[in-house]
């Protein structure tokens, strides 16, 4: 694995393709139904042979105006919406939204509830990474890995289904806690999953991590420098792949995350392969958090006392959480009453995708699939 400067030089070698006269260029629509755009994203590509001259993402096919709905619904009515933005990591979206109200209205949350939130959120992060590993490899033509990751994913989905009642678009958190307590069966099954998942890493490594085809297709592809990441506001595993250890769980700790000992994995080169390594290691770190949380799990209520009709103070409030794809920030402006005057939802994939135009200038079309796959995009989250 070369260093960043070398890889950038490699990237620069591809650029002369743009010098060829414009009349050789043609346009290609990737999406909105392309299998590797994961949802309805369209990328308008100006091509020069196999090389990309310019890539312009076209958004909005899955737009539902969540921010407008947020201005017309009280917190309880809006809860199901939160789980329908990033459907692959819905609990973290639940978490940010309830956290926002709890911060603005200074509502106390029972410690047990915070532990349950952390455990289920981290399970959800693992599920999201499972889905990503399978889908990314599928994009690049490897069909087998998704069968393994989905097998593992099913184990967690069963656990989460028992406690939340749904398998994908969770609506489990409440302002003041969670809606259902976890039981011994949950703890037992989660512990069994942790043990099983640790054994499965060996399979992942044999099948994917050391796979020469996978390495050839991802190493040095789609390099994001720390400076570029800052200019675009890239966050999450994509940023950490570029060597910046930014994680909201550590930087602005929320919930009971300070109680746990875990690390922030970072990459060295900022390429697609590093982003894979970061996510794989994040699964292990999430397992560590869950393990510690289960050991420390306190008794007590799982839902605090919260008024049914919330009267909010006026003013603005912000709450950031580390979602599976990066920093998710809810920003509310309240004018009193029980619905927000304004609800801004900053979603991680939005900023992560906006880098694409600069990232893939002079890139091969097949590399775009790898680079875009490594960003772990969820389009309904971007469109909101």
């Amino acid at each position: 694995m070369g260093n960043l400067a070398e890889n950038n030089a490699l990237h620069a070698d591809l650029e002369p393709a743009t010098d060829i006269p414009n009349d050789n260029h043609y346009f290609l629509n990737m999406g909105p139904q392309h299998p590797s755009t994961h949802g309805v994203l369209r990328v308008l590509l100006e091509m020069d042979g196999e090389y990309i001259v310019e890539a312009q993402p076209v958004l909005g096919y899955g737009h539902r105006m969540q921010e407008k709905m947020g201005e017309h619904k009280n917190w309880m009515a809006f809860m199901p919406n939160t789980g329908r933005m990033d459907y692959a990591a819905a609990l973290q979206y639940n978490h940010g939204y309830v956290g926002l109200y709890e911060r603005l209205c200074q509502i106390e949350v029972p410690t047990r509830a915070e532990y349950i939130r952390v455990i289920t959120s981290e399970l959800n992060r693992i599920v999201s990474h499972h889905l990503w590993i399978g889908a990314m490899l599928l994009d690049m033509g490897a069909f087998t890995p998704i069968l393994y990751t989905f097998d593992d994913r099913e184990q967690v989905l069963d656990i989460l289904e028992d406690v939340t009642g749904s398998r994908l678009t969770y609506c489990y958190f409440r302002v003041g806690g969670v809606c259902k307590d976890i039981d011994d069966k949950f703890v037992e099954k989660t512990r069994a999953f942790i043990k099983r998942q640790r054994e499965r890493f060996d399979i992942y490594n044999k099948l994917v991590t050391g796979n020469i085809i996978f390495i050839k297709r991802t190493e040095g592809v789609g390099i994001i420098s720390p400076d570029m990441a800052r200019r675009y506001g890239v966050t999450g595993p994509v940023l950490r792949g570029s060597g910046i250890a930014y994680d909201v769980r550590k930087n602005e700790p929320y919930s009971v995350y300070p109680n746990f000992d875990f690390e922030i994995p970072v990459g060295a080169n900022g390429d697609s392969y590093d982003r894979y390594l970061v996510r794989l290691e994040e699964i292990e770190q999430s397992l560590r958090i869950i393990e510690q949380a289960l050991d420390q799990l306190p008794d007590g209520p799982f839902l605090g006392k919260v008024p049914k009709k919330m009267k909010m103070p006026t003013g603005d409030c912000s709450f950031a959480v580390e979602a599976a794809r990066g920093e998710l920030t809810y920003y509310m402006v309240s004018g009193g009453g029980d619905v927000p005057y304004r609800l801004k939802i900053r979603v991680p994939s939005y900023s992560n995708l906006s880098i694409l135009q600069e990232l893939c200038r002079g890139m091969l079309l097949s590399d775009l699939v790898a680079a875009m796959g490594s960003m772990d995009l969820v389009i309904p989250e971007i469109d909101r």
């Binding site: 201005e71 506001g233 930087n251 008024p307 912000s318 402006v333 304004r342």
Partner: protein, 182 residues
Amino acid sequence: MHPATEKLVSALTELSIPVEACNFEERGYHFEIDLEADKLRSLAECMLAQEMFLVFVGGLHVKPAIEIVYQFASFERACRLVVRVPVKADNTIPTISDIYQGANWHERETRDFYGVIFTSHPNLVPLILAEEDVDLKPLLKKDEDLKESAAVRWAPHPKSTSSLTLTAPVEEKPEAEKAEQG
């Protein structure tokens, strides 16, 4: 205060931009800035020089003028800033998309939702909304819902007051309902 945060505050003070500290536990960010549109670009340049990243750009429809909200944060330390900038009288505001390229999409989205024109933006075409909805401006408030800028500002409230407004009207209701259900 973190040395880098101190440096940031003094750099802003040098530009004669007033910075106000906030209680993170209540607001979720550390500093707030009210700014004139003329100073926006020098603020953005200062932010980039101080290694802050752009979290989001959003709008807020209030009287007398629409406010554009910018949030910046740091990758290295807990330091989050909210900047509010009212748009100029002709409904325009300078773009910062040449300083923070990430602002490009956020500004296009804000134009979609509020109709604010970001001057010198390289590509101010609809992003989230369809091209035929270019004049929809869905997040503009109706006249009867529109509030004064001051009415949605943080009113310093002692904790006791906020918990009072929270619990007073409904304290007994849930109990009664529970009994009915039981």
